[in-house]
């Protein structure tokens, strides 16, 4: 690790905080319990963060959470839309994560073949 990386890390960390302000259209929640971590959830999270940043998607925030009860199909990501619609994706990898950003977050079209659950919360 060098100082440049540290600076970037700090900027990223501050962005994480800044992201909370304002109303976001989408919240991406990455499951990061032990089984998720073992299956590659951190890399999936990083890929989504990078892709979101690269595409300048200002109304998306990325959050990390503990186990969400889908240990057998990790890495798992849930996308929550501001209106309460929740879409859960499973068995992800960086490639699939990029597709989800391009299709779901940019175009609003869920990647149906990766979806394992969908519900509408009030």
């Amino acid at each position: 690790m060098n100082l440049e990386q540290l600076k970037r890390l700090k900027e990223k960390a501050q962005q994480q905080v800044a992201l909370r302000e304002g109303h976001k259209k989408y919240r991406v929640v990455v499951s990061m319990g032990t089984s998720g971590i073992a299956a590659g959830a951190r890399e999936v999270m990083k890929t989504m963060l990078d892709e979101i940043e690269k595409r300048g998607l200002a109304d998306v925030e990325v959050r990390v959470t503990g186990e969400i009860g889908l240990e057998d199909v990790e890495p798992v990501v849930r996308i929550e839309r501001a209106d309460g619609e929740q879409t859960t994706y499973a068995k992800l990898d960086p490639e699939k994560a990029r597709r989800i950003v391009a299709e779901h977050l940019v175009k609003g079209t869920p990647v149906e073949n990766l979806v394992v659950g969908k519900e509408k919360k009030p």
């Binding site: 690790m1 700090k10 032990t34 999270m45």
Partner: protein, 175 residues
């Protein structure tokens, strides 16, 4: 088994956040001279009572997914296994209201020692888990120290520096 020590650190740090910590300090000491790699994760969360601590410490090598009982996780057992396999030791110090400190040591040159891996992404993930928590990282080798805090503001900039304790390796790197 986790492939990187930084993934263990992420996992252990997630425990701290789940325990309501507001400050999470991660220290990594990598000393080639002494042949040790030591990880310390300390939080000011709610801590564990004696029964929980005992249960966690009893959960030893035999931990497998099939034996996993509800409410007893794997994360600490996995780190313990890695430390002991690599010629090191594992400790937890915790008490209700006193926070928790987890320490794992390993022989730096042990053939089975996982690489440290990407600490940046680990800190990033912890920040994304709870942006209100102050995440501190201190990484030391025989010649350098890196310090990072997610809560540090610009006027504290000089503390986010690479300092050189022995050689002049940090020349030009201090912000």
């Amino acid at each position: 088994m986790l492939e990187e020590l930084s993934l263990h650190i992420l996992d252990i740090g997630m425990n701290s956040l789940a325990a309501g910590a507001t400050v999470l300090s991660i220290e990594v000491l990598e000393s080639a001279r002494r042949n040790w790699l030591i990880i310390r994760v300390r939080d000011n969360g709610r801590g564990m009572d004696a029964a929980t601590l005992r249960r966690v410490l009893e959960q030893r090598r035999s931990s497998t997914k099939s034996k996993r009982r509800k409410g007893i996780g794997l994360g600490l057992a996995l780190l313990r296994q890695t430390a002991e396999m690599c010629g090191g030791r594992f400790h937890i110090r915790s008490a209700p209201g006193q926070g928790t400190t987890v320490v794992a040591s390993m022989r730096l040159n042990h053939v089975d020692r996982p690489p440290l891996g990407n600490l940046d992404d680990t800190v990033l993930a912890l920040c994304a888990a709870n942006p209100d928590v102050e995440i501190r990282l201190r990484y030391r080798t025989d010649s350098t120290t890196f310090q990072f805090s997610s809560k540090e503001r610009e006027h504290h900039e000089p503390r986010t520096t690479q300092t050189s304790q022995r050689e002049g390796t940090a020349a030009g790197c201090v912000a």
